[in-house]
Amino acid sequence: MLELIDTYWLYFLVGQYPQGPLGGLALTILLSGAALVLAMPLGLALGIARVSPYRAISLPVAGVVQVVRAVPLLLVLFWVYFFLPALTGVKTSQAATMLIVLVVFDSVYLAEIVAAGMRALPKGQLESARSLGLGYGAALRHVVLPQTLRHGLPSIVNQLVSTIKATSLGYIIGLSEVSFIASQINTLVFTQAVEVYLILALTYFILCFGLSRLAFLLERRLQRRTLQAS
């Protein structure tokens, strides 16, 4: 096992880089982080639309959310990978494809987190902000959203964990993320499948469990602060 790690650790961590594009664990982490960050603005917009009192805005968004959540991520990945080049004439790389799909999915799930958070905020917060003369947009910006995002932080961290796990699907379209690299290593070594895949599992575990614990601690801290306030 140790010899295995010794020989392949760099490949596992960064793929072919610098002799090729970035891969491995670094790619997994980078893609996940980038996807979540890029999805935030869209997720915020969709979430705000979701709780809008105008049905003409909230219903279509609800529909889109329902549809995206009803289909496997892999299917959307295939759509974008096989079909988008036909539409746009540009062959998108695996990494770009994965990023697009992750951003779409993350926006939808973030929208739900934002909407839930906005609904959970006491009505009085928006009312008192508006009573001071702040418009709806200003009230959202300075009073509602700061609180919503603060309370939603544990959920957002959990969404990051989901995203990290979702990057593994890039394997199927040949993206050199960490699962793909692990399989490459397995093919090279051939006789140590158990060790290779256990290390892969352990890697994901450390990353995801670590983040989940962070989310849990954030949640606890928030609960303590809320108890103080009331």
Binding site: S131, L132, L134, Q147, Q228
Partner: protein
């Protein structure tokens, strides 16, 4: 200053405000009291359009405040509203709570807003809590900050919706004291409250409401000594029994 003309409001089939026609003069302190569900909160909330009305007119300084296309934000910036549940912004300090609206609405620079807020907080006795967060304050302290926050916009009118109903008894006094101070300075105030002592001492007039109607309007002397409407008599008798 405030004119209500045949104001009606319905919640579905329920007639919450029935043909309200009254005036509130400048510098007047008006107390609105009555049993639960009488419509007092609804009435005061129509004055800054937190509630809409179904018919009639409400004019403040001669302007129809419920007119279509009216600037509701400008209206609200000119009226201070104090809530029963304080509704301070928990993610901002006491000072930031008071400077948020004046600064973001372009009424004052950050420095001016700061200074004005400090004066107001001094006045409500909380200058020492300037950098604290609301969750570190007692209910009475939070409500006093809420009053300072409303005053920071320099409104000519202040509305109070049961400001002490959510407070422990020992903190009611500190809030009422601030309100008495305001009244003494000539602020135009409309207060929905159960605090009859405050009404007796400070109010210029009292409206007694039940089932969406104003059943009695009187000066405090008249109201407490000699209520005319049977519902008002019942209400005061119940209060005395407590």
């Amino acid at each position: 200053m405030i004119v209500l003309d045949k104001v009606n409001k319905f919640y579905g089939d329920y007639h919450a405000l029935v043909d309200i026609t009254e005036r509130v003069e400048k510098n007047e302190v008006l107390v609105v009291c009555g049993p639960s569900g009488s419509g007092k909160s609804t009435l005061i909330r129509t004055l800054n359009r937190l509630e809409e009305i179904d018919s009639g007119r409400i004019e403040i300084d001669g302007r129809d405040i419920h007119a279509k296309g009216g600037d509701v934000n400008a209206l609200r910036a000119g009226i201070g509203f104090v809530f029963q549940s304080f509704n301070l912004f928990p993610h901002l300090t006491v000072l930031e709570n008071c400077t948020l609206a004046p600064v973001k609405l372009g009424r004052a620079s950050k420095a001016e807003a700061r200074e004005h807020a400090m004066q107001l907080l001094e006045r409500v006795g909380l200058a020492h809590k300037v950098d604290a967060y609301p969750n570190a304050l007692s209910g009475g302290q939070q409500q006093r900050v809420a009053i300072a926050r409303a005053l920071a916009m320099r409104p000519p009118i202040m509305l109070f919706d049961e400001p002490t109903s959510a407070l422990d008894p020992e903190m009611v006094g500190e809030v009422l004291q601030v309100m008495r101070g305001l009244a003494g300075e000539g602020m135009t105030m409309v207060c929905v409250t159960h605090e009859m002592g405050f009404a007796r001492d400070v109010a210029d007039r009292i409206w007694f409401m039940a089932e969406g109607k104003i059943l009695e309007k009187a000066t405090p002397q008249e109201f407490f000594a000699n209520p005319r409407h049977p519902r008002a008599q019942q209400f005061l008798a119940d209060r005395r029994r407590d």
